[in-house]
């Protein structure tokens, strides 16, 4: 990075540190901060969508759909997320490839499962084996997002399901009295009002999501924890210009600070959002705001 870094063995402590922290390998850990933030930014709406679908399914008047929704919520919530992380990515990958295989290679006669291998026709491979590395990485990242969305979607479904039931029944009845259909009442009355009831649960869920990101390396994404372990481990001079002892504790300290800042900032932002959403709502919080405004 810097010009004076050509012979790190000769540098004084400060310059050595500057060079050490800017090796190309170190850039990877800085990039992985971005990976974590992007994952959060993409997963949150995806999980919310899954959650909305799950909550609607659980509320459905068609019994099998309702069972499906409830089973999804119960099963995913009853199992430690790490158990899913351990096999979901491979399962999803095989699932997508299987579907593509069925679509693209109808004439394929060889079995897909043979000798313990999972072999689809070359055209169905995901990504294609000729694809450049960055496509593979994006695909891996996408699988991680889907896995997170499925798991946290169940938690979100639980929160939204509760929030939908928390909207006072009288509101729905009023809507019906105005001649709205069930669907209209859902869209115009229930959904806009449920957010204020859902927000505390969703904020909490966001915090859990943030704190689950160190498990990203289980999903094959080289994340912060992966690089902290790799960079922090003791290095001998034979394989690097920057030999050092076991520095993992410093790297993990940096991670700790990163997560503390991230959760603290989220907390403040979510508190503000709550104030915004409470405005004009028929809750004690909304009432308090109204009184404060009059006074």
């Amino acid at each position: 990075m810097f010009e004076f870094c050509t012979d790190p063995g000769q540098l004084d402590r400060l310059a050595w540190m500057a060079c050490y922290l800017t090796t190309t390998k170190h850039m990877a850990i800085y990039w992985s901060v971005g990976t974590v933030l992007i994952l959060l930014a993409v997963t949150a709406p995806a999980a919310l969508l899954m959650g909305f679908g799950g909550a609607m399914a659980a509320r459905s008047r068609i019994a099998p759909v309702s069972w499906l929704g409830r089973a999804y919520i119960m099963i995913v919530r009853g199992v430690p997320d790490i158990a899913f992380f351990m096999f979901f990515v491979i399962a999803l990958d095989q699932f997508f490839e299987y579907i593509r295989h069925e679509v693209k290679c109808p004439g394929w006669t060889e079995p897909i499962r043979q000798n313990g291998n999972f072999l689809v026709c070359p055209e169905a491979k995901l990504p294609l084996s000729s694809a450049p590395q960055y496509i593979h990485e994006i695909y891996g990242f996408t699988l991680a997002v889907i896995t997170f969305a499925i798991i946290f979607g169940a938690f979100a479904a639980n929160v939204l399901y509760g929030a939908m039931r928390a909207v006072p029944q009288a509101q729905i009845e009023t809507a019906e009295a105005y001649g709205m259909s069930r669907r209209q009442a859902f869209r115009r009355i229930l959904v806009p009002q449920m957010w204020v009831y859902a927000l505390p649960g969703l904020s909490n869920l966001w915090m859990i999501l943030v704190k689950a990101t160190p498990l990203l390396f289980l999903l094959g994404v080289q994340d912060l924890v992966y690089w902290a372990r790799e960079l922090g481990g003791a290095k001998t001079p034979r394989f690097t210009d920057y030999p050092h002892g076991d520095w993992r504790i410093w790297y993990f300290l940096a991670l700790l600070v990163f997560y503390l800042v991230l959760t603290r900032v989220s907390e403040i932002a979510l508190d503000r959002l709550m104030v915004r959403l409470t405005r004009g709502q028929a809750t004690s919080g909304g009432e308090a705001q109204r009184k404060a405004m009059i006074a």
Partner: protein, 288 residues
């Protein structure tokens, strides 16, 4: 090997990595009691029974960590919640920081730190030597972690204790410790219980991280996840052991909900039928 033999060989494998015979005399008769498990884990010809038994054996650790730290964490959480609400900054500030650090960082990283800290403490004083083992060290980390989360739940409950209750206590001339023990604390528990149930579920789930980060497994004695990944590694097939693990945890979650439901009814038994809150973990506002 029949399945019954597998159970005899491996049901206690997560605790014992050897067989012991215990000879003793009782009422003039000699008894010999054999306890323990096979030293070697299955290494070839894996069957479903082995996976179910060994992963089940690993659940002993998950339950051990869960029960121990939930119990101990409950006490500390009550203290921290009270300290957090105190007007004395010497009590309030440390409680705030304690909650912030343990709720604001991933447990995964807390385990790493716990292990490093105990290693450092061990070099400072040999009394800390046992803490680098999972059985004690990881339990301490989990204990502090769940105490922080529970304290936050209890604090929320303390804030929402109906004014009438405390006013009634004052009217009866209760103050200090009796007021806390007989009025504030039971009401706090009653209000916090649904959220606390959720915390308990999450805590049991978190115990799977013990052998996964930081703390090493000794003599292949590990928790359910440890054995599940052992089989996934040996059979090269993750689709059998992890669903077994998931099944065990769904069962455990249902048991926790059941037990906490019983306790919830007890906490609410003085209320008129209509006002009893059924333990519904619905609004999910109290997720971890």
């Amino acid at each position: 090997m029949t399945c019954w033999e597998t159970i005899q060989a491996y049901a206690l494998r997560s605790v014992f990595s050897d067989r012991f015979t215990w000879d003793f005399t009782l009422f003039g008769h000699d008894f010999s009691l054999a306890l323990g498990a096979e030293k070697l884990l299955p290494r070839a010809d894996f069957d479903l029974c082995q996976q179910v038994v060994l992963i089940g054996s690993g659940m002993i650790w998950n339950i051990y960590f869960g029960v121990l730290t939930l119990g101990a964490g409950f006490l500390l959480a009550t203290l921290v919640a009270v300290a957090r609400g105190s007007r004395n900054p010497l009590l309030r500030k440390p409680a705030e920081w304690f909650i912030l650090v343990f709720r604001g960082s991933p447990l995964f990283i807390q385990f790493f730190f716990g292990y490093f800290c105990f290693l450092a403490l061990k070099t400072a004083h040999p009394a800390f030597a046992p803490f680098t083992s999972a059985a004690l060290g990881a339990a301490v980390v989990l204990f502090l972690n769940t105490a922080a989360y529970s304290a936050e739940i209890f604090r929320g409950a303390l804030l929402s204790i109906p004014k009438g209750d405390t006013e009634a206590a004052d009217a009866y001339g209760l103050s200090g410790w009796p007021r806390f023990r007989r009025i504030v604390w039971p009401t706090m528990l009653r209000l916090a219980w649904p959220a606390y149930t959720n915390e308990a579920i999450f805590l049991f789930h978190s115990t799977t991280l013990v052998f996964f980060s930081g703390f090493p497994a000794t003599s292949q004695r590990g928790d359910a996840l440890y054995y599940a990944s052992y089989f996934a590694d040996k059979t090269f097939n993750p689709f059998v052991p992890y669903p077994i693990l998931a099944g065990y945890f769904i069962l455990l979650t249902l048991i926790i909900i059941g037990l906490f439901g019983v306790m919830n009814r007890r906490l609410n038994r003085h209320l008129p039928e209509a006002r009893r809150a059924r333990l519904r973990l619905r609004a999910g506002q109290f997720l971890r």
